[in-house]
């Protein structure tokens, strides 16, 4: 075990300790992983995000930094007040230099606001709201996760291009669900498709049968699921018995959902994602090391983005020869992003990280070679004009 990994292990163990911990190096670079560690989003972020950040630190040649790197972590429990006070405490007491976070976007936005006031870098690796680089953007913030807009457009636009023109949406009746279905419907119409109808359902609906039956009766080519978490899983689980199992497109779906639902249930669902673990040689090599350390849990795009973001951040610290947030952020924007995890990546003025995305389909059990073989990639989506530009984002920092 290298000195570095010993240090990070110690940092792990003391992650929630309030007292100042003395480490060997002077003024080490400190990265805080603030995520939902046990709740509903802990599968696509959570402890595995911490692992990804830790791996990024281990893989980085820290001699170029002239100091050591510590990884700290905390559980915000998806509560905005808990998240923002944890962030403040780690900034004040531990002097963290950068925060990466995931889980509920409401928490992430509160944390990003708090960190911006204290001139601390934020990297949104598991928050999917467009606001992080839109109306609530931070001068020290970057968003690595795709937003609901790209996820919706990725799957909707591409499927219409393939001739699946008539859409029916099953939408969660709150801001997030409605935004997702509006984005997707726009993409469908832009690409020349049409809407067959929509059913709105309350959050946490036990039985989706009613909506599925209506979707089936509409004769739509595709049933778009504009919901998340357990609502999406319920709809997928029940869809097959109503004859719409093969028509589903999930607008926010992670590889861990496919693993949890089992391929038998989830097969045929089309999703868009920024990452799939064996999309290229670099990701495969990384993911295999990742899965060796967590008992075979497939890395999601949230985990991959945490790795890519941490690597890019450390590289920028080394290049800037400074831990000052403004200098490092400027370096992050100017250096090419080449962690190998994201394809053709660059960072816009508003902090938006832009890259190529994937359209994938969940494999049938007969096509899968093992418990981690989940997706087949249908097509790649060129990222260059796919994301909202900085000017269109509504970020007040962009002139």
């Amino acid at each position: 075990m290298s000195t570095l990994s010993k240090l990070t292990s110690v940092a792990f163990a003391t992650c929630l300790a309030t007292s100042q911990t003395v480490f060997a190096a002077e003024d080490p670079v400190k990265i805080l992983v603030l995520d939902d560690m046990r709740g509903i989003f802990s599968g696509n972020g959570g402890p595995n995000t911490l692992l990804a950040v830790q791996m990024a630190v281990e893989d980085f040649d820290t001699s170029s930094l002239g100091t050591t790197v510590e990884v700290l972590s905390a559980d915000h429990q998806n509560k905005a007040d808990v998240g923002s006070s944890l962030a403040q405490r780690f900034i004040d007491e531990q002097g963290v230099d950068a925060i990466t976070f995931g889980g509920s976007s409401a928490v992430g936005l509160a944390v990003q606001g708090r960190a911006a006031e204290s001139k601390v870098i934020t990297m949104t690796t598991g928050g999917y709201a467009p606001n992080f680089v839109g109306d609530q953007c931070s001068p020290y913030g970057t968003q690595w996760a795709p937003t609901t807009r790209e996820l919706a457009r990725g799957v909707a636009g591409t499927l219409v291009d393939q001739g699946l023109k008539d859409w029916y949406f099953i939408t969660a009746d709150y801001v997030f669900g409605r935004a997702l279905s509006t984005d997707a419907a726009d993409a469908v119409v832009d690409a020349g498709g049409g809407m067959k109808g929509e059913t709105l359902h309350p959050l946490n609906t036990n039985d989706m049968a009613s909506a599925l039956l209506a979707a089936q009766a509409s004769g739509a080519d595709v049933v778009g699921l504009a919901n998340a978490g357990s609502d999406t899983e319920t709809a997928i689980k029940q869809a097959r018995s109503f004859g719409v199992g093969d028509k589903l497109a999930a607008l926010l779906f992670f590889s861990n959902n496919a693993q949890a639902l089992t391929l038998d249930v989830a097969q045929g669902i089309r999703v868009s994602t920024s990452f799939y673990w064996n999309m290229n040689d670099t990701t495969t090599a990384w993911a295999e090391r990742f899965m060796e350390r967590n008992g075979g849990q497939v890395p999601t795009m949230g985990h991959a983005n945490a790795y890519a973001a941490t690597t890019h951040y450390l590289k920028s610290v080394a290049a800037a020869k400074s831990q000052d947030a403004a200098e490092v952020t400027a370096m992050m924007h100017s250096l090419p992003v080449d962690a190998g995890i994201l394809e053709n990546a660059s960072i816009q003025e508003n902090g938006r990280v832009v890259y190529d995305m994937l359209l994938a389909e969940v494999k049938a059990p007969s096509e899968s070679t093992g418990p981690t073989d989940l997706y087949k990639i249908l097509s790649r989506i060129d990222g260059s004009d796919f994301f909202l530009s900085a000017a269109e984002s509504g970020c007040p920092l962009v002139n």
Partner: protein, 294 residues
Amino acid sequence: MEIFGISVPALAGQLLIGLFNGAFYALLSLGLAVIFGMLRIINFAHGAFYMLGAFSAYMLSAYLEASFWVSLLIVPLILAALAAVLERSMLQRLAGLDPLYGLLLTFGFALILEGGMQYVFGVAGQPYSPPASLSGASNLGFMFMPHYRAFVIVVSLIVCFGTWLLIERTKIGSILRAATENPSLSEVFGLNVPVLITATYAFGAALAGIAGIMAAPVFQVSPYMGSNLIIVVFAVVVIGGMGSIMGAIISGFALGLVEGLTKVIYSEASNVVVFVIMAIVLYFRPAGLFGKDA
């Protein structure tokens, strides 16, 4: 022909789906009604029993490869045993106190069970497949009716009316009712009242277990599946009349239908319609539709 702007076949399909959800409301509210009617315990752990029923089925299948049919027999027994232990060790001590104490104890027990299951299994739903013999669907002309859903409706009807017959029309039922209505007099006649009380509580929990295992192939098998449902089920019990067995069964199925209808007409209101009806019923009949006036 159209009603509410949708075709009659489509409406019929939605009503059948409503009946399916009503089957769960009826099974769960029946257990609550039996327990409250006999023991005066407001059993807040009922949702957790339902959740444990589904998880027991999942664990029996995942670790012991037990089939659905075997689980359907074993799971209610597991729940009954657990409930008997809870009743003997804790609830019994609250006999004679305000029902509020029982409510608090069972609520606490539900939180512990849910928290414990979340700790072990996490929050994501666990997979559970319907038995192969029931996995298809029939085209009824107006809708696809999955066989498993039809099966659930039938089983629920049988269990509900069987329970009603058992308690209202048989010797065992009359003994139970006597023991709970006047315990001291019943003991004079040689009945073992504490055992009868434990058995009643265990029976109520077993009903929740049956609902749980039948829910596993369709709904999410997750630690909070019960707490999502139990509030609606309490509203169903209140509408039917606290403690009324026939009231629980009829209002369970009826509210499932009303909810199904709401999903067609104005889906956004589907999770409040039951409570609106509860408010209206309580305004006109404070003891519920089938309850005896206090």
